[in-house]
């Protein structure tokens, strides 16, 4: 484990595997944080993307990121951030041994550059299978020994176990890798688990960082690229170590519930709920778990600030949470807790709604219309005269609003109405 020194830097000598990460010159240098190497700032960082029990959906989500975009990271287009060399089983150009050669080099400690592993998909329990070529998820032939002459498929779990200790950081992307997800759901035949489960509580990367978890099924792509860029800036020594919560989630992304930033949350407050699919109100009654789910998709959108589950009308099924999917199923049933909290919201919401309606009625007219006593809209505005109760409450409302200030409405009332109001009828009258 890395230990912070007085000036806040980390002493690399105390970090196991640091030599494998930063090469022979692994001593602290640079302007802050870890500060790259004595040879200067890091020029490139390799990222080994390992897909376990995965659907490649996280990869697709990452290609949707815009701030930064994946091509920005790969081209080294972000000032200060080292160029990312990505080894990805779907996106890489080279296949077969051309693809696996750098993986072997990283496992042997001969890569010559620091590397990060990104794990997408759950970790199957195939290390428990007989050692006869059995696997649930494999990549590369010939075993971990590149000189081997067998065509034995290499378990992805073997790659993870071989690469994790020497990695500068291990990042789990998506709910499968972070918590287990659907391949680890009840009744699964593969004994799947999360990366944290697999590597164990004592695991820290070569730089002393525990597994970083970016959940979501699929995650918001920007949540991943933003975190990676922040971690790279930290490694470079030009940024602080980003804040992570007790489960290794980026705290600034997953600290709030998805409901708090939901465009439909206001309906909940007023106690109005969608009764069927397609309704525009709060979706709790049609199965939305948003009020208790840590996610930022309603704030950040799904892609380029567009969409987001509840924004579009899809109830939250808790796909960023460790309890997903089993603790949220059956998905179409309203969460039982919402009966109570929703019932309370209905009760006070009814009152709030009425009070607001009263204010809106007064705010929905201009001062001129108030003074003239009529609304010049031919669209069909017909309003009854305010009730006595409404007038009384308006009086008190105004008292409170303009207490210690000037009632601008009163000021305008002292001015005459514009003379050319209703000009066309006036002209007609003249003619």
């Amino acid at each position: 484990m890395a230990s912070a020194t007085e000036n806040g830097r980390v002493r690399l000598e105390t970090v196991p595997h640091a030599g494998a990460v930063f090469g022979v010159d692994a001593t602290p240098a640079g302007v802050g944080g870890l500060g790259g190497t004595v040879g200067g700032p890091l020029e490139e960082v390799h990222v080994f993307w390992l897909a376990g029990m995965s659907c490649d959906g996280c990869s697709i989500a990452v290609t949707g990121a815009t701030n930064p975009s994946v091509e920005d990271l790969l081209a080294g287009a972000i000032p200060g951030v080292p160029r990312v060399v990505l080894h990805h089983p779907v996106l890489s150009v080279g296949a077969g041994t051309a693809f696996t050669r750098p993986l072997h080099a990283a496992a042997d400690g001969t890569l010559g550059h620091p590397y990060v592993i990104v794990v997408e998909g759950s970790i199957p329990d195939d290390q428990a299978l007989p050692d006869d070529g059995s696997y649930y998820s494999a990549m590369g032939a010939g075993g971990l020994d590149p000189e081997s002459d067998t065509d034995q498929p290499v378990r992805v779990t073997s790659w993870v176990a071989a690469l994790a200790p020497g990695a500068a950081a291990a990042i789990a992307i998506g709910t499968c890798a972070t918590w287990g997800g659907i391949p680890a759901a009840a009744g699964n035949p593969t004994g799947s688990m999360s990366l944290m489960d697999f590597l164990g509580k004592d695991y820290t990367s070569a730089l002393g960082v525990p597994v970083v978890n970016i959940p979501g099924c699929a995650p918001v792509g920007d949540n991943f690229t933003e975190t990676v860029a922040a971690v790279l800036m930290f490694l470079q020594g030009i940024g602080p170590l980003p804040e992570f919560d007790e489960l290794g989630r980026p705290a600034w992304l997953f600290g709030e519930t998805v409901h708090r930033h939901c465009v439909r949350a206001g309906y909940y407050e007023e106690g109005v709920f969608a009764k069927e699919f397609g309704d525009q109100e709060c979706l709790v009654d049609v199965g939305c778990w948003g009020p208790v789910v840590q996610c930022n998709i309603t704030e950040r959108g799904a892609i380029n600030h567009m969409g987001g589950c509840m924004v579009a009308g899809g109830p939250c099924i808790g796909c960023t949470m460790p309890g997903f999917p089993d603790k949220f199923a059956p998905f179409y049933k309203a969460p039982p807790g919402s009966t109570l909290s929703g019932g309370i919201a209905r009760t006070y919401g009814a009152g709030i709604r009425r009070l607001r309606r009263m204010s809106m009625r007064s705010l929905d007219t201009t001062l001129i219309w108030d003074n003239a006593g009529e609304i010049p809209s031919p669209w069909g505005v017909e309003r009854s005269k305010p009730t006595v109760a409404a007038n009384v409450s308006k009086l008190f409302y105004k008292r409170l609003q303009y207490n210690g200030s000037v009632d601008q409405g009163k000021r305008l009332k002292s001015q005459p109405l514009p003379e050319s109001r209703d000009i066309l009828s006036r002209e007609k009258g003249k003619g």
Partner: protein, 493 residues
């Protein structure tokens, strides 16, 4: 008739029934495919490799730039440029069918979607269709329109992804320079026919723009996949794994702003689509001209099956009884083509002809005694009384193959090979077209891709031969999950 190879006959009214007199009409045989087509082929091959330096193992593992774990392990005679043995395998097993068991059927929409994140919306849409049929839910016309819109947007994302991010790098400057330098000098002089459409004057210029990361076409495609996905998430919530697909359509609240933002994004694809067609026409023409043998890549009997897509809002009612009618009314209608000949456009018939075999997978054969089906056919006929195979996918009750004590007899770990077998073929066995030799193939990566497509989609036994598959390299013992090509037993007609 379309069922040349199925034990089904039709009367004059077109009603289907099993052909009389077949004792076990749905029986099929499995056949071991040996390396060098020889029972002792494995040993022989090993011997050959030990004695000859030019006979070598060449593995394409992983095959990158395809969605889904795929690998080829081959033994190649480099001197004679011949592939002596090859296995193709999917290197991933998660057991989604098993996970789905014992859950609320409505949850299938969200769970099945997670099977694939590259085609990240179609599985939920398909589950919604299945639920509509099961529940008797007929969606309102606008629900169907909205769902069609969503599916169409997925294509707009998928095509640039495939053409420029996955397939495209094979045709880019670095790939062509590295693998076929003689083509590069040719490309520098080759004028682009469609310059007026896409703006590139020479093929070399175009290939430079295809370069991963730095090429303008690569970057543009990445951007366009985002434009399409932005439109998608406006009504789908997110992508992959949309959140609004429900039986009956979409749960999205669609207003004019959504339609405006979607419509404007679709509009961008009109110009882009023309540009892409021009680019790929020029690329294909260039490679065909450089080497006419490119035309032979992937040539094989045209066997295709398509269930159709995009329902007619006025006709679709989700019922099995009317399936032929609403199926044919799909904008992309269903059909089965065998050997280049259209056999049927009836969804009911298509359903009758579908069978799934699990010899090469991690799944237990559910039609057998220990496969949960207890040897009985769960649905001997469909809703209309038409005969169904015991192995029809709709009746499957998958469970994981149990693990034997040595891990050998049932070998959960050996890769699943093969899958759905093809009974629609006529009597003769279709064969793959001649494999292009590495010398005549343009780029190495490109030839890999072509081979991939052929081997992963063609289920004909001949396409998999010569293949041994059953090797367990460490133990040297054949495993049961080995290549066993289902073949039809002779059926009395």
């Amino acid at each position: 008739m379309c069922f040349k190879n199925l034990p089904i006959q039709f009367d004059e009214q077109g009603n289907a029934s099993l052909i009389d007199g077949a004792p076990n009409p749905w029986a099929y045989e499995t056949r071991e495919l040996m390396p060098l087509e020889d029972p002792a082929g494995q040993a022989k091959l090993k011997n050959l490799m030990e004695r000859n330096g030019h006979i070598r193992r060449v593995d394409f593992d992983p095959v990158t730039r395809v969605a889904g774990a795929l690998a080829f392990h081959t033994v190649v005679d480099l001197e004679n440029r011949k592939v002596l043995e090859t296995d193709s395998m999917a290197t991933l097993f998660r057991g989604y069918e098993v996970i789905l068991k014992g859950r609320d059927p409505r949850d299938a929409i969200y769970i099945s979607s997670r099977a694939c994140g590259v085609c990240g919306g179609v599985h939920s849409a398909c589950s919604a269709l299945a639920l509509e049929m099961a529940f008797g839910v007929a969606p309102p016309p606008l629900g169907i329109v909205a769902r069609n819109l969503l599916s169409a947007l997925e294509y707009l994302y998928d095509h640039p992804l495939h053409l420029f991010l996955l397939a495209g790098p094979d045709y880019s400057e670095p790939a062509v320079r590295a693998t076929n330098p003689e083509l590069w000098s040719r490309a520098e002089d080759a004028r682009c026919e469609n310059q007026a459409v896409h703006g590139f004057s020479t093929m070399a210029e175009l290939m430079t723009a295809m370069t991963p990361l730095t090429g303008s076409l690569y970057a543009e495609a990445l951007h366009m996949t985002r434009v399409a996905r932005e439109a998608y998430v406006l009504i789908g919530g997110k992508y992959p794994h949309p959140q609004t697909i429900v039986p009956g359509g979409l749960s999205a609240t669609i207003d004019l702003s959504d339609l405006n933002e979607i419509g404007l994004r679709i509009g961008k694809f009109f110009d882009y689509g023309q540009k892409v067609v021009g680019i790929w026409n020029d690329l294909c023409d260039f490679f065909y001209e450089a080497n006419p043998q490119y035309r032979e890549i992937g040539r094989r009997p045209k066997n295709m099956i398509e269930t159709g897509q995009w329902d007619d809002p006025d006709l679709y009612d989700g019922t099995f009884a009317n399936m032929d009618a609403w199926g044919r009314a799909r904008w992309a209608p269903p059909g089965v083509i065998v050997d280049g000949e259209l056999r049927t456009t009836s969804m009911t018939q298509l359903n009758m002809g579908l069978e799934e075999f699990v010899e090469h997978s991690f799944y237990e054969d559910w039609t057998k005694g220990n496969g949960n089906g207890n040897g009985h056919s769960r649905f001997p006929t469909d809703e209309l009384g038409n005969p169904l195979s015991r192995t029809t996918p709709g009746t499957r009750r998958p469970s994981r193959r149990p693990r034997g004590p040595t891990g050998r007899t049932s070998t959960p770990g050996r890769p699943p090979r093969g899958g759905t077998a093809w009974r629609w073929r006529p009597g003769r066995t279709p064969a793959c077209g001649p494999a292009p030799s590495p010398r005549t193939t343009g780029t190495r990566a490109s030839s890999t891709r072509r081979a991939t497509r052929c081997a992963s989609t063609c289920r004909a036994p001949a396409c998999r031969a010569p293949s041994s598959s059953g090797r367990s390299p460490r133990t040297g013992a054949p495993s049961s999950a080995t290549a066993a090509a289902p073949t039809r037993s002779p059926t009395p007609r």
